[in-house]
Assembly symmetry: C2
Homo-oligomer: 295 residues x 2
C-alpha cells in the first residue's frame, strides 16, 4: 500500500507557487491577490477562511477578507461582489458558503465575474469544463486530479467508480475523469443513493472515489485488490482520545481498506489539504490570465 | 420487442404544442418566435433549417431565417446575434453549425443571450443543467428524455451505459440520467474510445445509449436480453436499394439487436425526429419564461 500524502504534496505545490510569486516580483509584476467574503461567525467557515489567509501569506499572495454580519442584505452582498468584479487589484475571489437563508446563494454566485470565480462555482465555468474549454475547476476535484498527476496514477482506460453525485465533488470529478485528457480518459460510473448494486459496481473499480459524506462507508469487502482509493469524506465526530474532544473521519474504513489498496488517501492528511492548494493554483492562473485573457 | 416510435411521439408532441399555441393566441398572447442564422449552402444544414421552418409552421410559431454567405465576417455574425438578443419579438434562436473556419463557433455561441439559447449550447446552460437548475437542454438529450417519459421507461436505479462522449449527446445525457430526477436516478457509465472492456461493460446495461457515430457498431452479442436500446447514430451511406441513392444507418445493428431488446429506437424514425421537437419545446419554454423569468 502506498499512502497518498496530502501533507507532502500540498507543501510541494505551495513551494512551487511561492517560487513563481518570487519570480513575478522579480519581474516587477503585481503579486496574485485573492479576496474572500464571509458572512456571520460560523466556526467551520471562520477556520476555512483563516486557513486561506494563512496559505496566501505562505506563498506570497495578497489577501483580503471582507466580513459581514448575519444581518447583511442580499443587495449589500451583490454590491460587494460587483466591487470585487471591478477592482483590478483583485485577481480572484470567493464567497464563503453557506450564506444566511435570506440571501440567494445562486444569485450571488452568478453575480461573480466568471474570470474571477476561482472557486469554479459559476455555471459558466462548470459548463466550460464540461465542453473541455479552459475553466476554473472547483477545489476538491482539482485537488484529486493534482494528486493523480503527482503520484503518476494512470487513469486512461481504467474503470473509475465515483460514490456520491454532489455538485462540488461527485459530478465534476466524474466529468473530468471521462474527458479526453491526462489525467482522464477513464471509464467512469457515477453512483449514488439510488444505485441498486453498489457493492458489485464498486468491486469492479480500478479507482474508487468516495464522496458521499458517510463515515467509514467503504469497507474492504467492497474493494478489489490493488484498487486506488480516494477518500473525500470529512465528518467530524466526538472522540475521547483527542485533546480537542473530536476527530475527523473519512468515507473509507481506512484500517481495512488500506490492506487491499495500491494507493489510498488518509483522512485527515489527504484530499482535504489539496483544496486550499487548488484555490491558490486557480488564483495564480487568474493573475496570469491563463483561463481567460486579461482585459 | 417494442419499437420506440419517433414518428408517433414527435407528431404527438407537436400536436400538444400546436394546441398550446392556439390557447396563447386565444388569450391574446404573442406566439412563440424562433429565429435561425445559417451561413453558406451546406446541404445538411439547409435541410435541417428547412425542417425547422416547416415544424414552426406546423405548430403555429413565428419563424425567421437569416442567411449569410460564406464570406461573412465574425463581426457581422456577432452583430446579428446581438440584434437577435435585443429583439423582444424573438423568443429563442439558433446558430446553425458548422460555421466557416474563419469564425470562432465558441465565441459566437457565448455571445448568445443564455435566455434565448434554445439549442442549449451556451456554457451557462450546460453548467446550470449540471447543477440541476432550470436550463435549456440541447435537442438530442432532451429528445431521449422525452421518449423515456412517453414510453414510461423506468430509469431509476437502472444501469445505463452511454457509448460516446460528445459534448452535444454523450456527456449531457450521462449527466441528465444521473441526476436526482425522473427520468434520471440511474447509475450511468460513460464509455468512449479509450474504454478497454466495452463489450463487458455494455453487456451489463439495462439501458444502452449508442452515440458514437459508427454505423452498426452495437451488435446483439454485446447487449443483454431485455435491454432498452437507444440509437443516436445517423450515418448516410450509399445504397442501390433507394431512389435517392443513399440511406441512413444508426449505430445499432437493428435486425439482430431488436431480437434481444425490450425497447429499441429505429434509424430513421427514432431519436432523430425528436431533435426538432425538443427545439420547439425549448422555444415554447422561452416564450413562456419557464427557464429564465421574462425581463
Amino acid at each position: 500500500m502506498n499512502l497518498i500524502d496530502g501533507n507532502k504534496i500540498s507543501a510541494e505545490v505551495k513551494d512551487e507557487i511561492a517560487l513563481e510569486v518570487t519570480r513575478m516580483k522579480e519581474r516587477g509584476e503585481k503579486v496574485p491577490h485573492l479576496a474572500a467574503l464571509i458572512v456571520g461567525h460560523d466556526g467551520a467557515s471562520e477556520t476555512y477562511v483563516g486557513n486561506k489567509e494563512k496559505a496566501c501569506k505562505q506563498v506570497g499572495f495578497d489577501s483580503t477578507v471582507i466580513r459581514f454580519e448575519e444581518s447583511v442584505t442580499e443587495k449589500e452582498i451583490l454590491e460587494k461582489v460587483n466591487e470585487f468584479n471591478n477592482n483590478p487589484s483583485i485577481d480572484g475571489f470567493i464567497i464563503q458558503l453557506p450564506l444566511p437563508k435570506h440571501i440567494s446563494e445562486q444569485k450571488v454566485i452568478e453575480a461573480i465575474d466568471p474570470r474571477k470565480d476561482v472557486d469554479g462555482f459559476h455555471p459558466i465555468n462548470l459548463g466550460r469544463m464540461v465542453i473541455g474549454l479552459p475553466a476554473y475547476v472547483s477545489a476538491t476535484p482539482a485537488g484529486i486530479i493534482e494528486l493523480f498527476k503527482r503520484y503518476k496514477i494512470e487513469t486512461s482506460g481504467k474503470n473509475v467508480v465515483v460514490i456520491g453525485r454532489s455538485n462540488i465533488v461527485g459530478k465534476p470529478i466524474s466529468i473530468l475523469l471521462s474527458q479526453k485528457a491526462s489525467p482522464g480518459d477513464a471509464t467512469v460510473t457515477l453512483t449514488h443513493s439510488r444505485t441498486k448494486n453498489l457493492k458489485e459496481v464498486v468491486s469492479r473499480a480500478d479507482i474508487v472515489i468516495a464522496a458521499l459524506g458517510n463515515p467509514e462507508f467503504l469497507t474492504a469487502d467492497m474493494v478489489k485488490d490493488g484498487a486506488v482509493v480516494i477518500d473525500v469524506g470529512i465528518t467530524r465526530v466526538k472522540s475521547e482520545k483527542t485533546k480537542s474532544g473530536w476527530k475527523l473521519i473519512g468515507d473509507v474504513k481506512f484500517d481495512e481498506v488500506s490492506q487491499k489498496a495500491s494507493f489510498i488517501t488518509p483522512v485527515p492528511g489527504g484530499v482535504g489539504l489539496m483544496t486550499i492548494v487548488s484555490l491558490l493554483q486557480n488564483t495564480l492562473k487568474a493573475a496570469k490570465g491563463e483561463i481567460y485573457p486579461k482585459k
